[in-house]
Structures are given as structure tokens and as C-alpha cells.
């Protein structure tokens, strides 16, 4: 089963994101890494000038 039902004691925001293997951690890694693309392109623009 890829997606399990929520099993923890108390439902919470992070508990809800934790819906089976890796869902929560992939989400957190994504939100951390995505803005780095923006930093990359803004730096690239600066170098081009």
C-alpha cells in the first residue's frame, strides 16, 4: 500500500502530511529546495550584467 491511513494518536498538520512512505519528507525537501532555483536564476542574472 502506497498510501496508508493516518494512524497517529492526535491528528495535526504534519501528521496529515504523513500519509505513507516519504510523503511528509518529500514535501519538506521540496519546499526547501524549490526557492534555490529562484536564487540560482537571480544570481545568474547578476553575473550576466
Amino acid at each position: 500500500m502506497l498510501f496508508d491511513k493516518f494512524t497517529d494518536v492526535v491528528p495535526s498538520f504534519f501528521g496529515m502530511l504523513n500519509q505513507g512512505p516519504l510523503t511528509l519528507t518529500i514535501f519538506l525537501h521540496t519546499v526547501i529546495v524549490l526557492p534555490m532555483f529562484w536564487i540560482y536564476f537571480s544570481e545568474k542574472k547578476k553575473l550576466g550584467k
Binding site: 494518536v9 498538520f13 526557492p35 534555490m36 536564487i39
Partner: protein
């Protein structure tokens, strides 16, 4: 610098900005997670216990209840099960008394430096058994009640804590830490309370094969 730096990948400012972003955001996430967890691990109340509301860390009055540690189909691991009321040192403890006793026990656990031989919730030193579920250890029943001549588990535990050198089970003995009778009661309450904490199934299969072990540790017929 002699030549112009043309790649973003070797530019210090790219890495500096990225480091600042990642560090800052990870810190914010950690603080947010901490608030969420604080809510979940703060102690429950006596009313929660009476209504049967499950808390990860129950109220000190959990010492008035029978505690078990059973496999949960839903959670996929063992969880503490709080059962019917049972006397603790021969009486029922009011919320105030129970809180004071737990306070004494927790202070005692630090003052006697338990953590530098034992592990509590798996953290500490590895010279003596883990105490997470010590209240539920089958050794207290038959063996220790027998050795100390006490009629209840909590009295046997308190007696052992006061005079551990009198009841050795191994060449490696617990030293006498000058624990008073009152402190021993507190420590037993602390251990009973700790065994009621929902540790996500740690330790797994607690003392499951102890009977086999006592019989010689084999399944052969």
C-alpha cells in the same frame, strides 16, 4: 580575482544566499514542529484519564491505573494500554499527591544520576537495563517479590531501590545510592508513569520470550 567568475556554481554569493535560506527555513520548520509536538507531549489531565482519552504522556494520576503494553493493530506496534484502577502502595493517589510523588521521583532520577548507567526512553548509558518499560518488567513479579519478600510489585521495587546490593541478579550490581523510603516511592511512581508514555512501539516485543528464556531459551521439543 584575476579572471571573471562566470558560473553561478562557483560564486560565493549563490552559496551564501542558499545557505542563509536553507538554514533559516529549516529553523522555522523546526520551531513550527516544536509547537506542534509540545501540544502533543504535554501531560494530560486526571479528567482525560477518567474519560479514557488517550494522551501520549498521561497525567501523574496514571499511577492509580493498571498499565499494560499491547500490540495495536491500528498503529502497527505496541502501545501502552491504561486499564482498570488498582491501588498504588495500597491507596489511590489524588491528583495533587500523585503530582508531588512524580515530582519527587523525577528529581530523584536526576539527583541519583540514573541516566549514567541506565537508559531512559533509550537515552543514557548502556551499563544497566533500559528503564522505559521497567514497571512492566516480568522480573519484578516472581523473582524480585520473592527475593524481597514483598507482596506487591511496587513494594518490591522500592525495597530493591533502597538496598540494591542485597538483591543481586548479576555480577554487575546496582550500587546503594542512599535512596530513602520516600524517594524510592517517588522513583517507582516515576517509572510507572514512564511506562505509560506512548513511545511509538519502543522497545519492540518487550520481554516477549522471557518465559522461553527462563525455560532454557529454546523452542525445540
Amino acid at each position: 580575482m584575476a579572471k571573471e567568475n562566470l558560473s553561478v556554481w562557483t560564486s560565493i554569493s549563490f552559496w551564501r544566499r542558499s545557505a542563509a535560506w536553507v538554514t533559516g527555513f529549516a529553523t522555522i520548520l523546526l520551531i513550527w514542529l516544536t509547537f506542534d509536538t509540545m501540544g502533543q507531549i504535554s501531560m494530560g489531565t486526571d479528567a482525560d484519564l477518567q474519560k479514557g482519552i488517550t494522551k501520549r504522556v498521561p497525567a501523574p494520576t496514571v499511577i492509580n491505573y493498571h498499565i499494560d503494553y499491547k500490540m495495536s493493530e491500528k498503529r502497527g506496534h505496541e502501545v501502552p494500554v491504561i486499564g482498570k484502577k488498582e491501588p498504588f502502595f495500597g491507596k489511590e493517589w489524588s491528583p495533587k499527591e500523585a503530582a508531588a510523588l512524580l515530582h519527587l521521583g523525577k528529581l530523584g532520577s536526576q539527583a541519583k544520576n540514573c541516566m549514567n548507567c541506565h537508559t531512559l526512553l533509550g537515552n543514557g548509558a548502556y551499563y544497566a537495563p533500559d528503564l522505559t518499560k521497567a514497571w512492566l518488567d516480568p522480573m519484578w513479579g516472581a523473582t524480585m517479590q520473592g527475593m524481597t519478600g514483598k507482596s506487591t510489585k511496587e513494594e518490591a521495587m522500592a525495597e530493591f531501590l533502597m538496598h540494591p546490593e542485597k538483591y543481586p541478579t548479576h555480577a554487575r550490581m546496582m550500587p546503594n545510592l542512599k535512596i530513602t523510603a520516600e524517594e524510592a516511592k517517588g522513583l517507582v511512581a516515576f517509572l510507572k508513569h514512564m511506562s505509560s508514555i506512548d513511545t511509538n512501539g519502543f522497545p519492540r516485543g518487550f520481554s516477549k520470550t522471557v518465559d522461553q528464556f527462563k525455560a532454557g531459551g529454546t523452542n525445540a521439543h
